[in-house]
């Protein structure tokens, strides 16, 4: 294996899940994993072009003070790389055009939808068509949820999975589309990769707390039409080992946590499709 899978985990300005996200990339077999502060990209020291897998971890970008990830959206859209005419968004667009993978979790997912990276219907980047807003409960909550995987989704990250059990930790996770038409298109194209479900992973649910935020169509995660950009509210990087599971002391669980499969799928896809 001559070529190396290179993953970048972006941090700074309130991101806080970068360490476990990087750990997940490493466990999944990525040979290079760099945690990079946004400022290092903005000052031109690090370029997204040098990586295959971009991770946007959870946190509270700029405190979510203007709504989750809102202020950060402005930074990603308008900030320029010093010493060049390029904007951060230009690098991001090029990264996507090259068919590389992007995973956004929680605050990272909020950033993706507000930047218009997801669902990016028809491949149109930069046009926001859906949002993630305040939970119906009006509260931030940390609780574990069951997630049904859409087997027909083009999503690369959820390939071969039936269901997942992961924690959500958010106050603004309710998925809402701009209108019915957008929702229909997302459904028809099977872009809904994950839905909050009952324990059996069979049926999506609108019932609190199994659906922790009141998301339309129980949507917990969506992908773009190529399946290469994926965002989800639950935290796969929070379940990498069985001791992360809330009931590990009472259930027989495999050593490896369920969340790691998402990262394994990404790394093997890169190895097979982008490196060979």
């Amino acid at each position: 294996m001559a070529k190396k899978v290179k993953s970048i985990v972006i941090t700074g300005y309130g991101t806080n899940c970068e360490v476990e996200m990087a750990h997940a990339c490493r466990l999944a077999g990525s040979e290079v994993v760099d945690i990079v502060h946004v400022s290092e990209i903005l000052c031109g020291k690090v370029r997204l072009d040098d990586y295959h897998f971009l991770n946007l971890p959870g946190g509270f970008l700029d405190g979510d003070y203007l709504g989750s990830a809102k202020a950060a959206t402005i930074r990603f859209l308008h900030a320029r790389i010093s010493g060049s005419k390029e904007r951060l968004f230009d690098q991001l667009s090029r990264f996507i055009a090259e068919g590389k993978l992007i995973l956004g979790v929680c605050n990272g997912f909020q950033l993706q939808v507000k930047l218009g990276l997801l669902p990016a219907l028809g491949g149109e980047l930069g046009n926001q068509t859906v949002t993630l807003t305040f939970n119906d409960s009006g509260r931030f909550e940390d609780r574990w949820v069951y997630l049904k995987v859409n087997e027909h989704s083009p999503c690369i990250f959820t390939r071969g999975l039936k269901g997942l059990y992961l924690p959500v930790r958010h106050g603004e996770g309710k998925f809402l589309p701009r209108d019915e038409k957008i929702l229909e298109e997302i459904k028809n194209k099977n872009l809904i990769a994950l839905q909050y479900s009952e324990q059996s992973f069979q049926n999506p649910t609108m019932t609190y707390p199994a659906n922790p935020n009141g998301s339309v169509s129980a949507i917990a995660g969506i992908c773009d039409e190529n399946g290469r950009i994926f965002g989800l509210m639950p935290h796969p990087e929070a379940y990498l080992h069985r001791t992360n599971h809330p009931r590990w002391t009472r259930e027989n669980l495999p050593e490896e946590g369920m969340g790691l499969a998402i990262f394994r799928n990404a790394i093997s896809f890169i190895r097979e499709e982008l490196l060979s």
Binding site: T11, G12, Y13, G14, T15, N16, C17, V19, E20, H23, H37, S39, C43, G59, F60, D62, G63, D64, Y65, L66, G67, K70, A71, T73, I74, R75, H78, A79, K114, Q128, T129, V130, T131, T133, F134, N135, D136, S137, G138, R139, F140, E141, D142, R143, W144, R169, L176, P177, R178, G214, H235, E237, A238, L240, T243, N244, P246, R247, T249, R250
Partner: protein
Amino acid sequence: MVVRIEVGFKSHVIDAQGEKIARRIRDHLGLPVDSVRTVEVYTLEGDFTNEELEEIARGPLSDPIIQEYRIGQPLACQFDWLIEVGYRPGVTDNVGKTAKEAILLLLARDKDEQLNVYTSRQYVITGTLTKKEAESIASNLLANDLIEHYRIVSFKDWDCKQGLSPYVPRVMEHNEPHTEKIDLNVEDEELISISESRILALNIEEMRAIRTYLKDKHVIEARKKVGLDHRITDVELECIAQTWSEHCKHKIFNAQIRYEDDQKKVMTIDSLFETFIKKATQKVREAKGKDDICLSVFSDNAGVIKFTEDYNLVFKVETHNSPSALDPYGGALTGIVGVNRDPFGTGKGAKLIFNTDVFCFARPDYDQPLPPRILHPRRILEGVREGVEHGGNKSGIPTVNGCIVFDDRYLGKPLVYCGTGGIMPSTIKGEASHKKEIRPGDLIVMTGGRIGKDGIHGATFSSQELHEGSPVTAVQIGDPITQKKMIDFLLVARDRGLYRTLTDNGAGGLSSSVGETARLSGGCEMDLKRAPLKYQGLNPWEILVSESQERMTVAVPPEKISDFLELARKMDVEATVLGQYTDTGMFHVRYGDETVAFLHLDFLHEGLPQMKLSARWSPPRRDETPPPPYPAHMGNALKAMLGRLNICSKEWVVRQYDHEVQGGSVVKPLTGAENDGPSDAAVIRPLLDSFVGVVVANGICPRYGDIDTYHMAACAIDEAVRNAIAVGGSLDHLAGLDNFCWCDPVASEKNPDGEYKLAQLVRANMALYDITTAYGIPCISGKDSMKNDYAIGNIKISIPPTLLFSVIGRIDDVRKAVTMDAKRPGDLVYVLGVTKREMGGSEWYAMHGLIGHSVPHVEPEEAKRLYQALSLAIRRGLIASAHDCSDGGLGCALAEVAMAGGWGLEIDLRQVPQKGIDRDDELLFSESQSRFVVTVSPHHQKDFEDTIAGLPWGLVGEVVNRTCLTVIGLSGEIIMDEDIYALKAAWKAPLNF
């Protein structure tokens, strides 16, 4: 120009925040409202074109999918009442600050551009309310008059085109910064009036000591050389007041105390801290020899212990009581982000890995009239909860453990204990990370936030009771994101070796941070004019003692300064050189060219006269006969106990705290079959590629102090320790933190029982010595807060003396950790430890309106053997579940084990190891210490019983495949057969807002 942009949800979108407010208006205030919608108001001050305003409104300020906006026009069009709430001038407006940054970036404008954004929120209310009721909603729920300004409009007075006029809370300071000189060569009365009028909180002996210092002719001579004279400057006076405050110098803990016990035996204690706390730690460390785990105790911002070969652990618990009484949200938020800076500012700096919080409040359903300036306890609870939520969650630090204590004596001052742990590599660039060193010539650099008037007199204010004139400036709001950015930056700088050491700017601000660290080099010289300000017009003394948040003081070697500043600039963090450390022995402060403070460091730190206090112990004699009647229905009695505020589920609070961020969560605060059982302690794995874990637990039991604070302290320590043992911790690697919150123990005319309260403090310290030395647990850091009283008019409310004991330790392999839920039918149920007739101070007695006198006693030698045996059994994998018995005794512990496990238990009380009990209720609800309920698989029965041979244990029953808790009483009859889901419903009911 000034323009308002209003942003609200589109009509079809649920306004979850508005609905939450509507629920609170109905539930908390009992007022009938139909609906509440919220509107965010951004008031922009600057030059903008119409196109730019559109772009701003569309861009960062609103979300086009769900929100709509109006520029210069109101959104609200139909309502009964509209209430708009905005901050007063100078109060931290995090949303406004973020909006400003986003707008500058969006419009590609320069960072220094004159542009301000102020935010307010409108509550658009539909419902038939009187003006007075609308006023009540504004002042009792939506706005805190101390920090917020509100306007109320009824629909009939509403101008649909104009809306409300812009509210611009710009700080208008026309003050020309100046320094006053005060002649202290005056009579005593005048000295006292100087101290009082300036809120210095210095007593007459302390004022006299300053007067004497300034009469010294060598001092005057030295002062003349720098342009000063025999008069003290206000900068110096404020600096001394802050340095000598109870908060900073712990005068009561260091006082000379004459203690007389109930046998009239007298002893003189020269410093409680030295005699009991420090000496205990010293004794423990000596006894442990090469197994000593301590690295840095009592000398730095937090204690440091060994963790692994390559890493150390750092831990500190603070209180933020007084600010939380005035503004619960801001007070608690600053409490948590403030304590974060303690472990962060220890040695060369630690990465923060967990928070733990303990709160003490009056009942949330308190229904008596409230004395002036006191907020309703439910409002305090909700504000504190939310402040800690934002402080913890936004900082990305998991809140892993905590508890809430309810007692109406916390009405005058709530207690808000915030603790934070950190981890640091044991060496950084070859130097020990836990040591602090500064060399003369190192530069004094302030990083992070800017300085405003916020938090001025915080240190002196918290050293006083809450009174009519308590300063508003003592209240402040923190910004976890400014702090997070600074911490991200400083950790990078640390690992690159760009600074020597750092310390936080907390109580006392620069005066304290620079004044303390200057002792390491032997002096300092700095210029306050260089300090970046939030707004102009601050006097030098205000700059020196301001407690504005999110600031660290860093000692940077001159050869590293350009790299340090460059990294700061790149990472968007403000860093300013204020001066340098010296070895002149002087605390030298300038404002520009003018010297404004010139004090000998020795005088500043050692010149404080020792207090002399008197303590007299006379144990209260309380009647215990007749005991409460034997319950008519034991199941109902248990339900009533489970529904007590001090026992009931705290899930509502716990879920709103992120307890899993950083990915190392092992034993979560909620556990069991349905993820809702109450864990005894937390276990986390801070190094994701290792299975070595950290265990964290707390103990607190103020009720026992009504009988004897000796036993209250002993029990709090025991509770913390047994909680840690229950999840897999071990006495071999456990360290403690003591945190005393007391009512004023200094006798005076207005505090006639001061000698008794001081005796209570002495006794608690005696217990701390006895128990920690017996268990071999070193105290590594601590805190005291001595004036938790409220005195306005003739109303005085004092908290019960309260000791929080927190422990931190290592668990060698987290895969051996144990949780408290019953695991599977057929497992055997054991009770470890002896139950005695110790009903005094119990929840059972409290429920019957009694206190009693048979307070639980800790027998540390026997308990220690039990803890060692249980630790061993857990390490050997013999234990299915372990749960400590605390509030509510065996009865509540058994119920919790069953409820959390989702299985029933069949229990025979005749098998419980006990002494002198002949009543089932007393056996179930006595709060004897050092006890556990443990379940064990029958396969391990023999091994387990061998492990605990010779210790008090009883095989009391079995986990069963039905959902009832069935109890056979001492008579051999079934005294209880309750469905565990009914028990759980009772347990979950009280705190579920």
